[in-house]
Symmetry: C2
Subunit: 213 residues, 2 copies
Amino acid sequence: MKKNVPIEKRTTFRHGDLRNALLTAGLEMARVGGPNAVILRETTRQAGVSPNAAYRHFANQSALLDAVRSACISQLAAAIEDEMKKCRPRRDPQVFARKSLRAVGMGYLGFAMREPGMFRTAFSVPPPIHSPDPANTASMGLNPFQLLSLVLDRMQESGLIKGKGREGAEYLAWSTVHGLALLVLEGPLHAMPPQMVLALGERLVVMVERGLS
Amino acid sequence: MKKNVPIEKRTTFRHGDLRNALLTAGLEMARVGGPNAVILRETTRQAGVSPNAAYRHFANQSALLDAVRSACISQLAAAIEDEMKKCRPRRDPQVFARKSLRAVGMGYLGFAMREPGMFRTAFSVPPPIHSPDPANTASMGLNPFQLLSLVLDRMQESGLIKGKGREGAEYLAWSTVHGLALLVLEGPLHAMPPQMVLALGERLVVMVERGLS
DNA sequence: CTACGATGTAAACATCGTCCACATACATTA
DNA sequence: TAATGTATGTGGACGATGTTTACATCGTAG
């Protein structure tokens, strides 16, 4: 058991960018081991700094975790955006809307499978994802919830959702994919092969699409 | 901050039922504060015993948590059973099947809202709910997954699910309700009023029912 | 009755989060 | 330029947790 702490002894007294270094280290720990793995002392170790130095930049480890969580949510938003960009507007706006919904759902699920630690961190405890906190967004300036709302609007405008079907649609759609993701990540579907998970995801998206009309 | 540790000093050297006492204490902690709140030393304190005594009954705190988790899953199964018992067989087996599916879904969701700590504990990390471990069951001897399978069989037998619709139906149905539960418990839907959550749950069940045909 | 295995105790260690007092470097200003 | 103040990092300490090692005590089987 060797310490894998390649601290290059800093020559300057100041670190220069400590807050960022701590955050980066914490994000990596979250990536590897989920929310419980983000250890305050360890981040300072990796930054080559004494433990208390962290308290100049974060009120406590909970505040550090909050920052890490925001970063995770941003990455999730980015993953969804990537998937959305793959589908360009079409002649038929309904096709576009459907593809968009699928993109959000599968982007969400894909990120969960690709980065389980970050995904679990993103949703550990009460993330203020609802409020448009810029810290939770990616290049489009929208958080995952807002991205979902966007594509649902597209579906409504193109006539795929009628009348009251739009109300609360975010929650219905979100629940399905979120549930599958968590059952796979830290639930009894742990051993399910990724290919099958994705196939289930597709079926869920279709189910949502039909369920909203 | 007073210690609420009513340890009645035991007169005998042996405790008599320590393993069970630790488990009970741990379950209560999980109930109140979720998986992270089950502290090994605290369970021994409440049992009026030295910390190391726990190691005679559990390999480590992870093993203790596993046992607590199993208890939580059992309670979940019991809650679902309770809801299922409310709907008696009817003339029309399709009505019965539909009511049964609703019972499982709403029983699941209701337990999550009534006992958030236990619910979160039940699904923290890798629960072996899939394998028919008797530790996870309630009076019917079925774990939550098997209860769901049961009502889905009912739907198939009554003709509500046809052909390939039955394949993987457990996962589709489960994902939806599980997702809603977690979004509410430790997600962005944290502030949603319970009444609205239940209404969403009903819509989800209907959506699943239609989506499986 | 004796010896052994199961159960509980005592003491100790490493790690973690956190607080307090102190040290150092940079920037602003007199 | 020199003084001073503030932001930043250090050192040491405390209590809590999980865990290990050695020891004590009881019930029981031979």
